[in-house]
């Protein structure tokens, strides 16, 4: 711990930690020193000269900048003398000299530090009689940020943020002296994924939010502390609303999660909330057309139809799909209805039962933030496997960059694309989808070789898995050795993998591979799975899985079943249900409920299968492709419209309270719709409000015990992974002694699985040598996709990933195509028309098409497994 020093501030003796800056010290003892350039999250620069105070020194009293001066023993400081006041007045006079004072039309007006300080410390008059300096006003430095150079006071905060946090100096000071301006390089708009934070940092109205421009006045808005649901980080945000409309989103500090930063998607992409195409009334298909009806009619129809289907086909002909985009309460209600009332385990969500996930997420985000804030780093080496934080979890990307260049953390990356974080020159291991397990085994082998004593080496340890011999070595042998060495040398390694690496049948072997790798590196490595959707973790916790009860408890855990049966007053089935993919792949279901998902847009086959259902009920915000196929569409509240809790990738349960309402809409929270449906089915849940659902969750989900709405507060709380871990360990041992047939993660019908596996193996075998399909298809998530929640924000449309296939420069040259050319991408499953993008991130031999592109469901090319080979031909 740092020691304290004693100093005197304004004649008062105070004891404060040594080494902190005087400006922070003063704040700690409630002495206000005005600042512009100084910011607690940015390195000191000392350029605005607003914070000069009197400091007694050996050569007399001097005016020193308190933002660059560390406190020391015996220091005598005065912040309230006549001299200090004079200098503050004069300096504000300088700052305001060329400021346009266009406060009436400035978005910052009302929450502007410059205004506040002018009122508090300013001279009150202007002595300038010359014309002011003119510069560029309101011009766009990106699609989302507007710059006004006249208002700028050159505090460098925006520049420093992009440099120190984003490590992308896209803004700079241009020109010199009195002409100095903040600007972008001509033709190079700011594109850092968290660039919007510079708007929050700007102490004047120089940087404003282009999406929210002129849509609010700070004194007229209601502010609701909430969280972002675009990805699983769960960044803390504040929702600013007025007249039933969400006007703006800004970052909110949570030092356990997002510091105070949020990404641009979270900040700007919220137009969908108030979009006029939002569903406002239940729709029932009448004469083939979806027609607005009363809630009672819609619910009665569903109840009757559901009852008859259950009687006719049995409960297991009914399935439900939950969502990582909706709250714990709604997901919990969904699975309770289907488990407790319908009586089936056919319940899952995207990236649910189809992924070999671990239940507990990241140990803690704060561990990754620690290298910069604390003396005790919890992690020193991070292995990212099949995760691209820059596109999938932008604030994690920010934390990682900072951990690397401030905390000295080493990064190892395995990904089919040479993702952005590879720029830190850690070992990069490319692989083709389907070769994940091979790569991992090779790594484990390298680790065993590097870690073994020489004599042991000669004896040779048998390959950890038979898969090793299966395919040729990926072109990264050196990197594999480097990576293995780093993992061995690390004191606290952390391995993070994402759904892309562990989907489908290969998921098992990937999971095994990761476990083996952890073992080979001395079993010190922590292994963590991160889901991508905002509530991906919560979905699993709530038991929206075909093989898991709430709280990750196995279906055959009789005690757990008994407890829930008592709580829900029902009998529970222990037959494993179908996974998301299984429910959509085969037309075996008669009824399907879809809440907050859009499978019809993922895969053309699935869209067709949905048409064959006797009953399709969709809970939605908008009339999605799936909703258009429904028999009943139920209009749901978005996350900003109702209370709800969400669980982020580090098991932090956080509140998202109701921020706005739409008096013209008859939509309702998903859990409430489900409660009414339960009532129609004869069961009274008696949930008067969200909080009562949350309260029941704390009973049904053991790990959530005690996490009531009130207990969560504004910063949320993590559930304790330790109980689950001990359980998990037991299970792993069990798995090691037995075979794959165990229920983790159970993939339904065993016979079918075997068949599929056989098929896949033959297929992959033949396709590798198949010159008809020379490229391996890589898919995955991009931040600016064509998803509903993004594309409705008009201002951001130009940022969206186009309907394109990205090729490596070598492959593009070999095929003879250039960026922008129209091509057809073909697999054995189907074809897509796309344009070409050439991207050095893409590895030779692969073709990259992100998911969720408008009009380009990459699912058309997929056969259901992660690995697929394609060819690209000019149209």
């Amino acid at each position: 711990m740092t020691e304290n020093v004693t100093l005197t501030i304004n004649e008062k003796e105070v004891s404060l930690p040594s080494g902190i800056l005087l400006v922070d010290a003063a704040r700690m003892v409630d002495v206000e020193i005005p600042v512009f350039c100084s910011h607690p999250k940015l390195d000191p620069v000392g350029c605005c000269r607003m914070c000069l105070v009197e400091v007694d020194g050996p050569r007399g009293t001097a005016m020193l900048a308190s933002c660059t001066l560390p406190v020391s023993e015996g220091m005598v400081v005065r912040t309230n003398t006549e001299q200090v006041r004079t200098v503050q007045e004069a300096n504000l006079g300088f700052i305001l000299l060329n400021h346009p004072l266009d406060c009436p039309i400035c978005d910052k007006g009302g929450e502007c530090p410059l205004q506040d300080q002018t009122m508090r410390f300013g001279p009150g008059i202007s002595q300038l009689i010359e014309p002011k300096r003119l510069a560029k006003k309101h011009y766009d430095i990106s699609d989302t940020i507007v710059l006004d150079q006249e208002r700028c006071v050159l505090c460098w905060r925006c520049i420093r943020y992009l440099e120190e946090w984003e490590d992308k100096p896209q803004l700079g000071l241009f020109e010199r002296g009195n002409e100095t301006i903040v600007d972008i390089q001509d033709g190079r708009p700011v594109d850092a994924k968290t660039s919007g934070n510079i708007i929050d940092l700007c102490p004047v109205g120089a940087l404003t939010n282009r999406v929210a421009r002129f849509a609010f006045r700070p004194w007229e808005i209601d502010r609701t502390p909430s969280i972002c649901i675009h990805c699983s980080i769960g960044c803390n945000v504040r929702l600013d609303s007025r007249t039933h409309q969400l006007r703006r989103i800004v970052g909110r500090e949570n030092m356990q999660v997002n510091d105070q930063w949020i990404c641009d998607k979270g900040r700007f992409a919220h137009a969908w909330v108030n979009d006029e195409t939002r569903l406002t009334a239940p729709l029932l298909r009448k004469n083939g057309k979806l027609t607005p009806v009363q809630w009672s009619e819609a619910l009665a129809y569903i109840a009757a139809k559901l009852t008859s289907i259950k009687e006719q086909h049995g409960a297991d002909a009914i399935g439900a799909i939950g969502s990582g985009k909706v709250s714990n309460e709604s997901n919990y209600a969904l699975q309770r209805l289907f488990r407790g009332i319908v009586g089936t385990n056919n319940i899952d969500h995207r990236d649910g039962g189809d992924v070999a996930a671990l239940p507990a997420g990241l140990p803690a985000l704060a561990d990754l933030m620690k290298p910069q804030y604390g003396p005790d780093p919890q992690v020193d080496t991070i292995f990212l496997f099949g995760v691209d934080p820059s596109e999938e979890l932008p604030v994690l990307d920010l934390h990682l960059k900072r951990a690397v260049h401030r905390g000295g953390v080493k990064l190892i990356i395995a990904h089919p694309r040479k993702i952005e974080l590879t720029r830190y020159n850690g070992p990069y291991l490319p692989y083709e989808p389907g070769a994940e397990a091979t790569l991992l085994n090779r790594l484990a082998q390298a680790a065993t070789d590097a870690g073994a004593e020489p004599e042991q080496k000669e004896v040779g340890t048998p390959p950890v898995d038979a898969l090793t011999e299966q395919s040729k070595l990926p072109p990264c042998a050196d990197a594999a050795v480097a990576a293995a060495t780093l993992l061995l040398e690390a004191h606290r390694p952390l391995i993070i993998y994402g759904p892309m690496a562990a989907r489908g049948q290969d998921g098992h072997s990937v999971y095994d591979g990761l476990t083996n790798l952890a073992l080979a590196t001395g079993n010190r490595a922590q292994l963590a799975y991160v889901g991508l959707d905002g509530n991906a973790q919560g979905c699993r916790d709530m038991g929206v899985l075909p093989h898991r009860l709430p709280g990750h408890l196995p279906l055959d855990d009789a005690a757990a079943r008994a407890r829930l049966e008592k709580l829900w007053n029902c009998t529970l089935s222990n037959r494993p249900g179908r996974t998301y993919k299984q429910m959509l792949d085969v037309g075996a279901l008669a009824a399907l409920f879809v809440m907050g998902a859009n499978p019809a847009d993922e895969h053309p086959d699935w869209a067709t299968n949905l048409d064959t259902l006797d009953l399709l009920v969709v809970f939605e915000l908008l009339l999605t492709e799936t909703a258009q196929k429904a028999d009943v569409v139920l209009p749901a509240f978005g996350w900003a419209e109702s209370d709800g809790t969400f669980t982020n990738l580090e098991r932090r349960v956080q509140r998202a309270p109701k921020a706005i309402s739409n008096p013209k809409s008859r939509s309702a929270p998903d859990w409430m719709i489900l409660a009414h449906l339960a009532q129609q089915l004869g069961v009274d849940w008696s949930f008067p409000d969200t909080q009562s659902v949350t309260a029941e969750i704390t009973q049904a989900v053991p790990v959530y015990a005690g996490l009531t709405w009130d207990a969560l507060g504004d910063q949320g709380r993590q559930w304790d992974a330790r109980t689950l871990e001990s359980e998990e360990r037991g299970e792993r041992e069990e798995r090691n002694t037995h075979s794959h047939a165990l229920s983790f993660p159970a993939l339904g019908n065993a016979r079918r699985t075997e068949e599929e596996r056989g098929e896949r193996n033959t297929h992959s075998h033949s396709s590798h040598s198949d010159s008809n399909y020379p490229l391996s298809l890589v898919t995955g998530t991009v931040l600016y996709d064509g998803g509903t929640l993004f594309r409705l924000t008009e201002q951001m449309q130009a940022m969206a990933h186009g309907a394109s296939v990205s090729l490596s420069p070598t492959d593009a040259a070999a095929i003879g195509v250039e960026a922008g050319d129209a091509v057809t991408v073909q697999s054995e499953q189907g074809a897509l028309d796309l344009s070409v993008a050439v991207d050095a991130q893409v590895q030779p031999g692969t073709a990259w098409i992100p998911e969720s592109l408008p009009g380009a469901p990459v699912g058309a090319l997929l056969n259901g497994s992660g690995a697929q080979r394609v060819k690209v031909e000019r149209k």
Binding site: R49, N91, D102
Partner: protein, 658 residues
Amino acid sequence: MITELMRQEIDEILARYPAGRQRSGILPALYVIQREYGYCPVQAQDELADILGIAPAEVGAVVGFYTMLHEQPKAEYHIEVCTNVPCMLRGGKQCLHDFENALGIHHGEKTADDQFALDHMECLGSCGTAPMAAITDQKTGQIRYFENLDSAEDIEKVITLLKSGNGFRSLERWTPQADPNSEGAADGPYRTGGMEPRYLMARLNQRDSHKIDTYEADGGYETARRVLSEVAPADMVDQIKASGIRGRGGAGFPTGVKWGFLPQGVYPRYLVVNADESEPGTFKDRIVMEYDPHQLLEGIILSCHAIESEKAFIYIRGEYYFAYVRLQEAIAEATAKGYLGDNIFGSGKKLDLVLHRGAGAYECGEETAQLSSLEGYRGQPRLKPPFPAVEGLYAKPTIVNNVESICNVTHVMRYGVDWYKQFGAERSPGMRIFCLSGNVKRPGLYELPHATPLNELVYEYGGGPEDDNHEIKAIVPGGLSMKLLTPDQFDTPLDFESVAAAGSLLGSAGVIAIDARTTMVEVARRTLSFYREESCGKCTPCREGTAWLEKILLRIEEGQGLGRDLELMEYIAQNIAGKSFCPFGEASVWGLQSNLLKFRSEFTAQVERANPDEVGPVLPIRPAYRPNTHEPSGLRASAFAPTGETIVLHDDLATGDD
């Protein structure tokens, strides 16, 4: 845009800097681009960013900072006329007018045929040979100084010479006296004098004084050879400490003490020679580098031995092109002889010397700003502590010393500490090159011991007032930043302590004499024009304050001054001095402060004569800001419509929001 050939040249440049520090080569690389295209096109900047592995905006930010890097093409010949105080006192303004008349363009413009572009410049370091112009040949990037341009005929000669294509036959300075027939012949070193014998300027007027042969014939490099084999580094630091050499750049900090700040056992260490001589009124380092470069090199070898550095940099101001070329040649000669490189004088010691050219920024004379610039950033000062001696260039221990300070090191080691201390004053030992400019008969460089009285320099060596009918009324003793001395103080001995006691500072020993023909309002305005132009823009008081002061002074000059302007200027100056980030900001108002104090009557008289009724300036109507500027204001169509001509909105104000 960066061709294969340019790329090769850039790669060679980048290889001079330590591994991983290639960004340091940004200025020389941009010079390559500018030589090729006449300016730095954005596309080439972006390509350079790629080569350096930095963001394009970082290159753009650097280009914008330095005045010698252009964002728009200039002309075949870029003529820059110095109008700063020392030149102004000797007709710099007339010189600029004569160029304007001769070329038929206003300054800031270029001729229709793109042959000449004309600009005015703030101090080019030839104050003793004013008025003058620096001319850049776009094709080659070479710069030549044309000096003593006293009449319109002289300027005609310059233009004729340039048009004939012989203007750059030599890069050595041109004067009408040395080249009466406009053939491009060079003039030699400018006027030097002082004590006998001289040391720092002993060799300048010899034939081929810049060559290594003549330097060695005069005993050059013997000292370095001897010291490297006989004197241990720590002993040498002690000797320099004992000699009491004080920095000649301006601050006068004892050189040996500075060396003593280096942390024990931390390597590598760097020596950076500050050759960014930019303080108006100072032109001493230039002549040493042009005519006796080996004197400097020997000093560098010695200093690096003392501080145990194996890599040194000379940061030379961009305008000093001839000195740059001479240094390049000298370094090549010394390297060929094995005096630089891997095994100096066969001693087994290494020294790699990199010559680094700045690109026009006064602020880069400040040591931390110079290091920023040398690292490839905008030349803006850094926080101290850490001081450069602890964490300087590339965050390694670094000593930054002025050229003349380093030259003194050679002589101390050659003749001994006791010898050195017999010159000058107790706390300002040794000799000094005084730069005398302004209204004196014999402006030039005078090597004299410290503590020589000011009037001896000005009246005996300088010959007194330029025009006997006009007395000298004020003298700046240490470069334009320093406070003015009045005739009652002209007997002040020129050493650090005495000048400080007189209320000013000896600074860089740039002595500027001002006679009665010049108004002090003009002196003040020119001074502030310089600081407005050269403020780096980092801190608020200097950035905003200097520009504000210039605006007020311009207004007073133009006859719209108000009585209260004087107090206002004092108020502004007070709040710049001591409040800015670096010492340069502070020094920007010292001259004005002393001027207002000592010559207040001249300001008052100007205000009263030109604006007796104290009429304020007419302010332009500022266009209203409307978010929907696409649509016309309703007011315009109503009875409130403005009469007269349509108000033209400023271009960038009229573009509306999307």
